[in-house]
Symmetry: C2
Subunit: 348 residues, 2 copies
């Protein structure tokens, strides 16, 4: 058991068994356990719900710490906010915590659509929720947000995909492949049979370096933002911050999420026809890329936004790039909050 | 002997022994062999010389094929054009062709300054040249161009660093580190003792994937430029074009060049004070980054250009990103030619 994935580090969250989930790729999760953090109270009309799916390597904790709070757009005083950790996150069912028969490298392949169906069952059956005031998520959370808006248009009133796409690009697929290969080529990975993350430390560090190159931006480093965050130089930033962040994570969990990330595509609902899939969206949608994102760049997000009726393109400026998602840039956070508040103020 | 590095593939070029070269890092090349391709004729005044140093993995052949020609800025009818393959290129002295005592992993560390001193000796002693109408190079060729302009200001009349910097950034250093690690972590690399590139095929392929992610741009792939170049999809582009390109290269050669690339810094002449070093430049200088370059981005180049008296910032637009250097974008090539012609028309 990896003690990184615990209530101590990521709590509080509740683990809810939504039952048997048949997966798109053919596998089955007999007990699909979802780790769920909620904030605020479900009102009598059951119409104040905000759903937040999580991103690669992230959990409900970062959403709690950086995005949710009184006076914020995601305000627990007004909304019942449900953060669902994605399958493979290490908190919900994952290679690192699954029953032996599907543990580790034996964990079945999971797709974005599986997460969204699992979340749908959780919301409807466990919480009795039929309407979502907003689905909002960053990166893989954006992929799930798009999937929600396409798959359950009658349920999603507003959608805010941040720094992510509805159909993953070939470029992004390859970037994620380099991340996975950084891990799998470590001899300590042992085809997924490693004893713990420490056995794959070298691979996880290379994975962290690739995230450092692509996750921030050239402007971030030129401006010395890494030093402003408290690290002496790039070496310290890689060793302490980035490797410190990824190092404790379970390699098979990361690979599970990366595989899913690579294949995110709402066009699966329409035999590959993306315009038709995005045409199903009825949610008020703000598409919010980050200006300096190196792998979910604004240009890719704009191409999709133009296929969504009544949507708006709201790029948010930050030289922190994709990992502005971490909450490192206060200006970006307040821009995001302003846009989310505006979106939430629109009639459903 | 690696038969990739031959006259058949990269010729014609002449191999010239410039004698003993003591290296900045303490090593010695007893016979520093430089592979040199020349085009055109040295005039009587010896003032029509253009020097072109080469980039990482590139050789004089790509310069001949894509940059030099009648009616072009680099016109052999007007200029005596000297293309010098960098140390480690596989044509000039390199791990793959050095005497046994310094072959392969035993090859000494080489710096940009070593290349430039070697080229200086070649030009002055072998060719009897004292003035350079232009030094022009891309990427590591730009690093050498800056080094020339700072080290030998009285000799360089014009300088055109394309898609490169005078002082390598921390971000770029880390990117190059991931490239090197893709190779060195292949078990077949065997600490540099491999039998040939084919033994390191997996590492060279990962290296090619990283180049694919960072070398072009997200816009390049979104626009389907890889398909326009004749490849069915990303997989084919990676397998056939990018891996096909890097696969035959000698791993120790690539590592030699990457180490040098990482540490390019004209500030070494002035105890780290970059403004003072760039202040030594008297050449008419056009700084020409590529708009969509992901690791030598225009912003990093602009910061340096502003430190060079009388220089001009001439960013060139191409969604092909850094590897527009390959000559894949005719519009970019003609923009470059126009700028080089303008630069060459300025009084020295």
């Amino acid at each position: 058991m990896n003690d990184y994935y615990t209530q101590d580090v990521h709590g509080p969250y509740e683990t809810i068994d939504i039952g048997r989930l048949e997966l798109e790729e053919g596998g089955v999760l007999e007990h699909c356990m979802l780790a769920v953090a909620t904030h605020g109270t479900l009102n009598a009309a059951r119409d104040n719900v905000i759903l937040i799916p999580t991103w690669y390597s992230g959990t409900s904790k970062i959403m709690e710490q950086a995005y949710i709070g009184p006076g914020r757009a995601l305000d627990p005083a007004r909304y019942f906010i449900v953060v669902v950790n994605q399958i493979g996150s290490g908190l919900s069912i994952s290679p690192s915590n699954a029953p032996a028969a599907i543990a580790g490298a034996r964990f079945p392949k999971v797709r974005i659509g599986d997460d969204v169906r699992a979340q749908h069952r959780l919301l409807t059956e466990h919480f009795g929720i039929e309407r979502l005031a907003l689905v909002v998520g960053g990166s893989m959370g954006a992929q799930q947000t798009y999937e929600w808006a396409v798959r359950y248009p009658d349920m999603v009133e507003r959608a805010a995909p941040i720094a992510g796409t509805a159909c993953n690009t070939e470029h992004d697929f390859l970037f994620a492949e380099t991340l996975s290969e950084a891990i799998t080529t470590d001899p300590g990975f042992d085809d997924g049979g490693y004893t713990g993350p420490e056995a794959v430390a070298a691979g996880l560090k290379r994975h962290a370096k690739l995230w450092t190159v692509m996750g921030w931006s050239t402007e971030f480093f030129r401006a010395g933002r890494h030093r402003a965050l408290g690290f002496e130089d790039m070496q310290a930033f890689v060793d302490q911050f980035m490797t410190g962040y990824f190092g404790p994570m379970d390699p098979n969990n990361l690979l599970c999420m990366a595989w899913k990330w690579q294949r995110g595509d709402v066009g699966r609902h329409t035999e590959g026809r993306l315009p038709e899939a995005l045409g199903r969206i009825t949610a008020r949608t703000y598409v919010m890329p980050i200006s300096h994102d190196m792998f979910f760049p604004p240009s890719d997000c704009l191409a999709e936004q133009q296929l969504i009726a009544g949507s708006e393109f709201r790029p948010l400026v930050s030289i922190d790039g994709h990992l502005a998602l971490f909450g490192t840039d206060p200006n970006w956070m307040s821009d995001l909050d302003r846009n989310l508040k505006e979106l939430l103020s629109l009639p459903a």
